[in-house]
């Protein structure tokens, strides 16, 4: 029972982690709590769902289509909803993010309908045991996909030129521009990467629970945000650990305390961690992120 809940928690946690990374990257670069991120996650799931259910495409291409469409959507939002107010007071940007979130939810209801759609079963529900550790094939796929995506992202951020530019811009936008970095481009790429990871998480969740619905991004977005804060907002490593901690605590808490407290557990952990480390687990005091 414990090990079963643990594998559930790890699967869930890696999904929170994927979503949280997108949150934290966008925050790192423009200091925006991107409330629309959860809805990009939802849109990603719907894009993949559409590819599968309407166009009969296989899983992998559909999954990638979801990621690419969400990346484009993320850039589109950044360009048309956020850049126009970049130089206005921060509250305007925040309000634009909330507006975008509401817009996307309603857009999805209009296009796909408000009711929950069942996500086709694409991976057979086989159960593996590994030294007493029981997990399903789907859980393994979720974990491996998440790890793979996070590794790719880490490579981009740490080893490539654009990744270096992202880290510089997130530390000091003006200094980055003085080096000849086109910071607008860097911002768009950050949105594209973050959104595509969000879409990947959204699609995996839809596969896990076999459901897609327009409001699915709301609580997921909130939990991913909490994960990012637990890890230290702006820190990619932090977001990953924050997500895992959240997922595991939530599964174990639901199993051993009460499933009614599922969502409350996230916030209890948040409060406890912030009491001891106000900047989050991997948070640096000021300014340095990503």
């Amino acid at each position: 029972m414990f090990l079963e809940q643990l594998s559930n928690g790890i699967a869930l946690g890696s999904l929170y982690a994927l979503t949280a990374v997108g949150y934290t990257m966008v925050y790192g670069i423009i200091r925006l709590i991107n409330f629309a991120h959860g809805d990009i996650y939802m849109m990603g799931a719907f894009f993949a769902y559409t590819a599968i259910a309407y166009f009969n495409l296989p899983l992998v291409p559909s999954f990638l289509i979801g990621m690419v469409c969400a990346a484009l959507l993320g850039v589109f939002i950044a360009k048309f909803a956020y850049t126009p107010v970049f130089n206005a007071p921060k509250i305007n940007l925040f309000l634009c993010a909330i507006g975008t979130a509401i817009f996307l939810e309603n857009f999805a209801m209009l296009v796909w309908g408000p009711e929950t759609q069942s996500f086709p079963t694409m991976i057979k529900n086989e159960i593996y045991t590994f030294g007493g550790f029981k997990f399903t094939k789907l859980q393994a796929v979720i974990l491996i996909t998440s790890i793979l995506l996070v590794l790719i992202l880490s490579y981009i951020v740490k080893k490539t030129k654009i990744g270096r530019a992202m880290r510089c811009a997130s530390q000091d936008m003006v200094a980055a521009r003085l080096m000849g970095i086109n910071t607008n481009k860097v911002i768009f790429i950050t949105f594209a990467l973050g959104s595509s990871l969000g879409a990947a998480a959204g699609t995996l969740v839809a596969m896990y629970y076999k459901a897609v619905y327009p409001m699915m991004g709301f609580s997921a977005g909130l939990k991913a945000f909490v994960s990012a804060v637990i890890g230290g907002i702006g820190s990619i490593t932090g977001a990953m650990f924050g997500g895992l901690i959240m997922g595991i605590a939530e599964s174990l808490g639901a199993a051993y305390i009460s499933s009614g407290y599922r969502d409350a557990i996230a916030f209890i952990i948040l409060i406890i961690i912030l009491l001891f480390k106000p900047t989050g687990l991997f948070g640096k005091t000021v300014k340095e992120k990503v």
Binding site: R167, M179, V290
Partner: protein, 236 residues
């Protein structure tokens, strides 16, 4: 090489630059001195495209660059070492230097130039894998200059390079600036509150007060000028 014409800049209601005119000839070290809040940094920011003017022009080699985005300005060969150096603390020394070469595509030459910078500042070579934030103030200034040089600039703009540094380090930095100017025919725009050294190093100098150029002349002339001596060299 660079010509500023009737530059007016506002920050909201604050009229920070009031019809600034000045010129820098190729191969010269030109200094802009003035006390805190005079508008020196603002001038550099306009040249590098960070702040936009209300009126006026910035001509670089005859071309108006005042509406270009900053990356285009860097590409043309104008580099700005900001006040407070703004080293990337998230990167190590070598990565910081490579950021200076961000727009360059000539990989082989970048490596050569890197060696060049290490020759110029041997201390940076010793510390090349250290994170930028762990360097001393003097080393950070060297890194900031080295990073700027990695862009292969034609015009190097330095905003208060001596700020907060020990006199002996300042001396060293100034020697390097002079050397770069002589050996590589690099044009330098030097912004300083520390007027003495700047005037000694400069071919030509401008004095700015509350957004206006109030005096200009050769470095030597201004060193001998009564008003300058009183206001900027701390003499009675």
């Amino acid at each position: 090489m660079l010509k500023i014409k009737n530059l007016d800049v506002f920050y909201g209601g604050i009229h920070a630059l009031k019809g600034i005119n000045f010129e820098i000839n190729e191969g010269q070290i030109v200094t802009l001195i003035g006390s805190n809040g005079a508008g020196k940094t603002t001038i550099l920011k306009v040249i590098s495209g960070i702040v936009r003017q209300k009126n006026g022009q910035v001509l670089f080699q005859g071309e108006d660059i005042s509406k270009l985005p900053s990356e285009k300005i860097v590409e043309l060969g104008v580099i700005h070492v900001p006040e407070g150096r703004k080293i990337f603390t998230v990167l190590n020394v070598e990565e910081n230097l490579l950021m200076g070469a961000y727009l360059r595509k000539d990989k082989k030459e970048i490596q050569d130039d890197l060696e060049n910078i290490y020759e110029l500042f041997p201390r940076l070579k010793e510390r090349k894998t250290q994170m930028g934030g762990t360097l001393s103030g003097g080393e950070q200034q060297m890194l900031a200059i080295g990073r700027a040089m990695m862009s292969k600039p034609k015009l190097l703009m330095l905003d208060e390079p001596s700020m907060g540094l020990a006199p002996i380090i300042v001396q060293e930095i100034y020697e390097t600036i002079t050397r770069l100017n002589k050996e590589r025919n690099l044009t330098v725009l030097l912004v300083e509150q520390n007027a003495n050294l700047a005037l000694q190093a400069a071919h030509h100098a401008y004095v700015i007060e509350t957004g206006e150029i109030v005096l200009e002349g050769s470095g030597k002339e201004l060193l001998g000028d009564d008003r300058v001596r009183k206001a900027y060299l701390g003499e009675e």
